[in-house]
Amino acid sequence: MNAHTWRKFRVLMATQFAHMTVYRAEIVIWMLSGTLSLIMGLIWMQQASAAPGGEIGGYTARDFASYFIATWGTAQILVVWVAWELSFDVRQGTLSPKLLRPIDPFWMHYVGHWAERIVRLPLMFVLLVIFAVLTGAQYTTEVSHWLAYLLLVPLAFTLRFLLEYSIGLLAFWFEAAENFQELVWVLYAALGGLLAPLSLYPPAVQKVAAFTPFPYMLGLPCDLLTGKADLSDALRGFFILLAWTVGFGLLRAWMWKRGVRKYGAVGA
């Protein structure tokens, strides 16, 4: 990395961090609004307590608590809103000043998301600890699993970012393109394991899910932490995510080139 590139990264990160800090109150609220996995967790826990044998599909109430707290935390790390930002830029014409500068706007958005994540982290840890203590959640003590988690999740985030970015770029061709993102979110939540651990899904659905990147983005890292997945699963998941990431990276670059041309033809 040459000096210029390092400086660009450093300055963008510092600026975006300062920017996100201005919005820290909003970030807290966004964090607290993401309740789906918590609600599902509560219901599964209740059902497990009431079920014969105190477990459902091998998960006790405590297992469910551990899983859903992990899903909540991981989903917080994977939050992406770039589709909305891109759509806004294209519609309002605020993309134009960005096109005049010799840098792909992609980097501003990407670094911005990471900066927001750092602002989010402290409170997130506190809440995770509180949730875990209140419910008696249990996690693996294998350090290798935690390292695998730290390797998978940033990659999963980058994949999610590229996916959402591509959806946002549809704004060049369709108005209100970011609404496609809502359907994709349902797929992500359902097939990623936000609604329940994937092993509890009907087998047919599990087979379909394996063809999407979602289980490896959310369910797999969480299973690693709860001890229900092992390192060979992690390795497999890593390469699958990598393949998807490269694919979407190429797609995004291609859509961006075509999109800018369209933007220039229609109106800036």
Binding site: H4, R7, K8, R10, V11, L12, A14, T15, A18, H19, V22, Y23, G93, T94, S96, P97, K98, L99, L100, R101, P102, I103, V260, R261, G264, A265, V266, G267, A268
Partner: protein, 347 residues
Amino acid sequence: MPPTSSDPSVTVRADHLRKAYTVTEKEPGFLGSLRAFVRPNTRTVEAVKGVSFELRGGEMVGFLGPNGAGKTTTLKMLSGLLHPTSGAGTVQGHTPQKRETAFLKQITLVMGQKQQLIWDLPAQDSFLVNQAIYEISDAEYKATMREFDEVLDLSGILSKQVRKLSLGERMKCELAAALLHRPKVLFLDEPTIGLDVNMQERIREFVREYNARFNATVMLTSHYMADVTALCQRILVIDGGELVFDGDLSALTSGPDARKTVRLQLARPETAARLSAFGELIRLDGLDAELAVPRGEVSARAAAMLTHLDVADLTVVDPPIEQVIGQLFRNQDQRSGRKPEPIQELA
């Protein structure tokens, strides 16, 4: 004149630039909305109809025309934001729409409404971002900031959040940020709009200094005659998407047809007929009147007005740009016997 692609002193060239849009039309009322939903009507609007000109390094050119004439569209085509429907633009030897890094580092486009400063942070932070993006060394950055500060006076503003700055302070910072990378070609779209007279002066001085210091080509659009007379030697006038005048500013301000506006505040009401004896009556509103008077006769006519009319106050001002241009068309048409074209409105 056929464009000479090998002339190195030409920094900006427009070669029959044309831009056409498709717009949808809707009939009024609820049924109209329903119909437009199911089967929208479209028509083509030509915003720019084949504009050609050449600018040389160091030239400062005023780009004038009524609203909707195609000024902003032309600037956007030359900066690479819009792709021409036909024709070609060349800036510093590059094709704008390719948006090559080398090209982007040499130009800047400043648009009134669209800003690049980060709203919630101090302007200083946006400057640092630009420094990083344009790969400006620390030494050059410091030197540039020092020079800019001398003319613009940025003291105390740089550490305040942009959202808290006044319009004038914000414009100063926007300009500084836009010129930080010392571009050689400047496209300025209404840079002084909404600013008070002092701030307008300062911005003008800044642009003039920048042009002198860096020998930059400047293309400036404005609604204020003062901007144009202060900065530009040459003007291009565009109307209805077509270039109707390319020549010296003096043709507008000091030619035989040049006029000044005399504003009168009368102590006693006068009839329109009586006032018309002193010049072309533009406006009569109770005790306020405006008359257009040939430039060379301003003193004589003003003296006559003061003698023969009961005047409380008399000021002589430049006519608004629209009037000057309008006058230009009327003269041209009178000479060529052509009827003026209606101004195209962009939907």
